[in-house]
């Protein structure tokens, strides 16, 4: 993992001193709320419904055990003993006092962490594949590039007051686990003749006007990476709309300007900017790459594991759903589900964080990842240790075998916390997960991603859920709209609206009918919900969702 040097450390200490002074100046009136708000946002501080919220960056989703223990400590010392892991590889604390936040930031700095640019109209925390450095299908570890971009974007003098937020994701594998096509810039590492380069995708985004990003560069050379993304942001900073915040994201600029014209502008800007990089960033990059070499994996054959796997059914089920192929076949990637049915998706208590930290140290080479699916990953676990790990997780409600299944739901905080929400998301997720868990048909249903947002901003990625649920406010009552057929991977697709929304009470029965319909029309248990949807289209699902309408049309 990246090791902070003196520069990084003193940068953060200095930044924290500035924020401490900014809080004091807000309180003494030197700064108006309008002036203070962008400053607090660029340090991760939101105002939610009940309190402030502090959003802490987990750059490219990587943590070590000391950092996770510190997150647990911060939750206990200044918050309510838990944290919420988000789809953007951040952790959110829901109850901090403004006056405590400078202390919380100092506590983060003690373990080389921060909340810089986790919010506001800035370049946000750069996200990456949560299996980075471990996945069997990886071309190159995306994290060194994400770290380079983190350094470049941190406190970038031109880009602290952008038209709107700007999000970058990097993926280095064949499978896109970083949703690169739904980011302002998505970077995908590709390989040609033994060299790597980047496919650059721009203008993706969810929210009010969801769009799948467009490829603007194929195989961008590594040493052009920073000047090229600087050119993109520079062009957008001047061109992006500032008159309407709903039209300010680069996806709208690309849409209104046209991809060819914007590409020409970016290329021209790139030529201007390129000479201002002396190339020294590449030697920094090389030392970052060295930091990310990864642990030396234990060389020990696998035998016990197979016996356990064959004899213990619950363990086998957990292995089948919660582990993924590691580049070294004696190891596995383990996903620890934060989605026990009935629990708030993505929440972990301080006690759970500490257990995971201990287990990462004991069985996982001290490496931990946070996934955008709001789960925690131990990227390197020797197969001989899997059974012991499973047994140790179980007492802490951390051994739920549901990764990728219907109860592994992504949900934003919704109206329970968020000031922008139009409806709740958490209780909906809890109901759906509990319902299908009780029926014991989750494994039979198979791979199915349900994603829930509490308003049109789409923080819960509902547009790219196989089943997306969007909570709205219809005349003062919560109402839920269903989209179908979304896909967050390299074959990214926006879901299509199924029809009129459902009340909170009618939603679960509707989802239940939808699943029953899928089970009856799929070709075989091997055909996933998404595949079935792609084969048959909306018709059978619509019929299940709206049986009355169907009868009416027939009668008419």
């Amino acid at each position: 993992m990246y090791k902070y040097n003196d520069f990084d450390r003193s940068f953060i200490e200095n930044r924290n001193r500035q924020f401490r002074a900014q809080v004091a100046r807000r309180i003494d009136g030197s700064l108006t709320e309008d002036e203070f708000k962008p400053l607090r946002l660029m340090n991760g501080v939101y105002l939610q419904l009940h309190a402030y919220m502090l959003r802490v960056a987990i750059p490219y989703g990587s943590l070590n055990s000391a950092q996770l223990r510190q997150l647990a400590y911060i939750a206990e010392r200044w918050d309510r003993g838990y944290g919420h892991f988000t789809t953007r590889q951040n952790i959110q604390y829901n109850w901090p006092k403004l006056s405590d936040i400078p202390e919380m930031l100092d506590a983060l700095a003690a373990v080389n962490m921060h909340a810089i640019q986790t919010s506001g109209n800035t370049i946000r925390n750069v996200t990456a594949d949560h299996f980075a450095g471990a996945a069997a299908d990886e071309i190159a570890d995306p994290r060194p590039y994400a770290e380079l971009i983190r350094q470049w974007s941190t406190d970038h003098p031109e880009f602290q007051f952008l038209p709107r937020k700007f999000k970058v994701a990097v993926s280095g594998a064949h499978q896109d686990r970083a949703v690169t096509k739904a980011h302002d810039i998505g970077l995908r590492i590709t390989e040609r003749a033994g060299k790597i380069g980047f496919d650059v995708i721009i203008g993706g985004g969810l929210g009010r006007t969801p769009m799948i990003g467009k490829t603007i560069q194929e195989f961008l050379p590594v040493d052009d990476l920073l000047p090229y993304i600087e050119a993109v942001v520079s062009v957008w900073n001047l061109l992006g709309r500032r008159d309407n915040k709903y039209k300010a994201r680069i996806k709208i600029t690309v849409h209104e300007t046209g991809i060819d014209e914007i590409k020409a502008l970016i290329d021209q800007r790139f030529n201007e900017i390129r000479p201002s990089f002396s190339g020294i960033d590449q030697s920094l990059l090389n030392s970052i790459i060295a930091d990310f070499q990864g642990p030396e994996l234990r060389n020990e054959p696998v035998h016990e594991f197979h016996t356990r796997y064959d004899s213990a059914a619950v363990f086998r089920s957990w292995i089948d759903t919660n582990t993924a192929a590691h580049r070294d076949n004696t190891h596995s990637i383990v996903s620890i589900s934060l989605k026990k049915p009935g629990q708030t998706p993505g929440d972990a208590s301080s006690a759970q964080m500490r257990v995971i930290a201990d287990l990462a140290e004991k069985y996982g080479y001290d490496e931990i990842r946070i996934s955008h699916e709001q789960n925690i990953v131990l990227p390197h676990v020797h197969k001989e240790d899997l059974f012991a790990l499973y047994c140790a997780l179980k007492p802490y409600d951390l051994a739920t075998a549901n990764i990728g299944l219907i109860s592994d739901i992504i949900a934003c905080p919704g109206m329970d916390y968020c000031a922008l929400a139009t409806a709740r998301s958490i209780p909906i997720a809890q109901q759906i997960a509990t319902h299908f868990d009780a029926l014991k048909i989750e494994h039979d249903i198979g791979h199915l991603q349900v994603k829930i947002s509490g308003c049109i901003n789409a923080c819960g990625h509902h547009h790219v859920g196989h089943i997306g649920i969007l909570g709205l406010d219809r005349a003062g009552v919560e109402n839920y709209q269903i989209t179908l057929g979304g896909d967050a991977t390299q074959t990214a697709t926006l879901g299509e609206r199924a029809g009129p929304g459902f009340s909170a009470d009618d939603l679960l029965p509707a989802i239940d009918r939808l699943i029953t319909a899928y089970l009856s029309v799929r070709l075989s248990p091997a055909e996933t919900f998404l595949e079935t949807y792609r084969r048959l289209g909306q018709a059978p699902f619509k019929a299940a969702l709206y049986p009355e309408t169907q009868q009416n049309t027939k009668a008419a």
């Binding site: 520069f7 003193s10 940068f11 200095n14 930044r15 500035q18 002074a21 900014q22 100046r25 009136g29 030197s30 700064l31 108006t32 309008d34 002036e35 962008p38 400053l39 109209n121 380079l148 350094q151 470049w152 941190t154 406190d155 970038h156 003098p157 031109e158 880009f159 602290q160 007051f161 952008l162 920073l226 520079s234 900073n237 001047l238 500032r242 201007e272 900017i273 000479p275 201002s276 990089f277 002396s278 190339g279 020294i280 960033d281 920094l284």
Partner: protein
């Protein structure tokens, strides 16, 4: 009225000639640019002795990119950020290529001298200069002043 700030803190305004807008500008005049200036217009004004870029609100960050583009295109004159700029933006302004900042008195009253001095350490803790090396045109342009 307004207050000028440079690396030494609050200083008296040394430019007394009037600033003219782009429409009325001719060579030799001090020029005032709005934050929505088309970057294509920058090429023909590189001979201006002094350019002041307006910040209508502190949330409008276009001026930083305009300043940087001017420096990248070889502008060697005096570059000033003008309007609603807050102390917290002093380092950003200097790093983007501005020489100094001129603010309204109302802001100066709320954000006195010491709050600006706190941010005159703009050359420290700067990821950009680390990542670019010493080839940054921002530095070279200013050093020739």
């Amino acid at each position: 009225m307004s207050q000028l700030i440079n690396d030494t803190g609050f200083v008296p305004n040394d430019i007394t000639t009037p600033f003219v807008t782009l429409d009325h500008w001719t060579t030799g005049c001090a020029l005032q640019l709005t934050s929505d200036t088309d970057p294509n217009d920058l090429d023909r004004i590189l001979s201006a002795p002094c350019i002041r870029i307006e910040f209508p609100t502190s949330a409008d960050g276009r001026g930083f990119t305009l300043a940087r583009l001017l420096r990248l295109r070889g502008y060697k004159g005096h570059l000033r950020a003008f309007g609603h700029v807050i102390a917290d933006q002093f380092a950003m302004a200097r790093r983007s290529g501005f020489d100094d900042v001129e603010i309204h008195d109302t802001v100066a009253r709320r954000q006195p001298h010491d709050q600006w001095l706190f941010r005159t350490d703009w050359q420290d803790h700067d990821y950009q200069s680390r990542l670019r090396g010493d080839r940054s045109p921002i530095q070279s342009a200013q050093n020739t002043l």
